[in-house]
Symmetry: C2
DNA sequence: TGCTAATTTCATTTTTTTTTGAAATAAATG
DNA sequence: CATTTATTTCAAAAAAAAATGAAATTAGCA
């Protein structure tokens, strides 16, 4: 390992910076867990969010005290959401990660990748419900038709509102 | 004992109705799980959503093949979200539950109860971050200040958007 | 009030999710 | 190439979440 290998040698950061880092990790662990993401994903993003320089995977793992397996998987998740990106660092063959901090884009990706597919398949399931309705129009069937229609409107409205939501985020 | 007999403990509804019920349970199990709710909560709501008459807890449990403990806890959750309500049924001392189907209200309650409190505590944590900043304004501290400000704007925008969201739901 | 049915509570069990760590793979260097 | 370093994969372990069921509590009724 050359001495130039780390732009960001693992010197211990100042006390305030370390506190900031810990608060950030705490913050994003909670936020991510609200969005159904595992702890490690929040930890990684939280660490990178207040990091001035981009960090290689092994440093992320050791700073957080998680395994490289977790780090690898967490970074894969974050990459797929475009929540982190990689930077080239001269003289170092490791990938260096940094946080994407445009929340508007992040949420837009999250909605597209994690929510819209479910809404898509919800439509299919609603169609199946309609097939389960008895042919003849009994008085009961009015009740069921109304409930099915409500679901259809719900998914339709969600499908339009959620993607628009990110656009409304004036940050 | 077959699992079919569990699902079908009471009077057997017509085939189409049962299919509808199963599709509904499937639908709401997925939807609820997206919102971080356990399977049983989705099952209960899914059952009630297409039920013409209100059902007592023990029937809910036996129809779904879940324990009365699960049913009790699930109903508590749904009650606290105002997603189910109870109906008086003459000559029966059991509580009878039925689904609240106004999704606009449901989401509004969900946001108020499950999301806003987190946003509230997020504010506190952002304040703590500011306290961790070193007093003097180094060049580094500009970076940190910007990142903290971003978080503040994110929580502020979410706090305004999310409650408004339910209102936008034109169902 | 005492009796019984309905419901809640909660320690334990089961299931699911997440993390780990070591082996496999890939990628860069000399 | 051969070697070393970086990364991914995935079976197994650990941790977390949810369900169970029996005891405790509550509430209706005679």
């Amino acid at each position: 390992m050359t001495s130039a290998s780390n732009l960001n040698a693992e010197s211990s950061p100042a006390l305030g910076q370390r506190n900031l880092e810990l608060e950030s990790i705490d913050f994003f662990v909670r936020l991510m867990s609200m969005l159904g993401m595992p702890r490690s994903v929040g930890e990684i993003y939280g660490l990178l969010y207040f990091s001035m320089d981009s960090l290689p995977m092994d440093q992320i793992a050791s700073r957080l005290g998680i395994s490289i397996g977790s780090a690898s998987q967490g970074l894969r998740t974050l990459r797929s959401l475009k929540a982190v990106r990689t930077a080239y660092v001269a003289g170092d063959r490791r990938d260096h990660y940094f946080a994407e901090t445009e929340f508007r884009r992040l949420f837009s990706n999250f909605i597209k990748d994690e929510i819209m597919p479910h809404l898509e398949s919800a439509k299919d399931r609603i169609s199946k419900m309609e097939e389960s309705l008895p042919e003849e129009s009994s008085e009961d069937s009015a009740f069921y038709k109304v409930r099915i229609e409500k679901l259809r409107r719900l998914t339709k409205a969600s499908g339009r509102l959620l993607p628009a939501l990110a656009g409304l985020l004036k940050l």
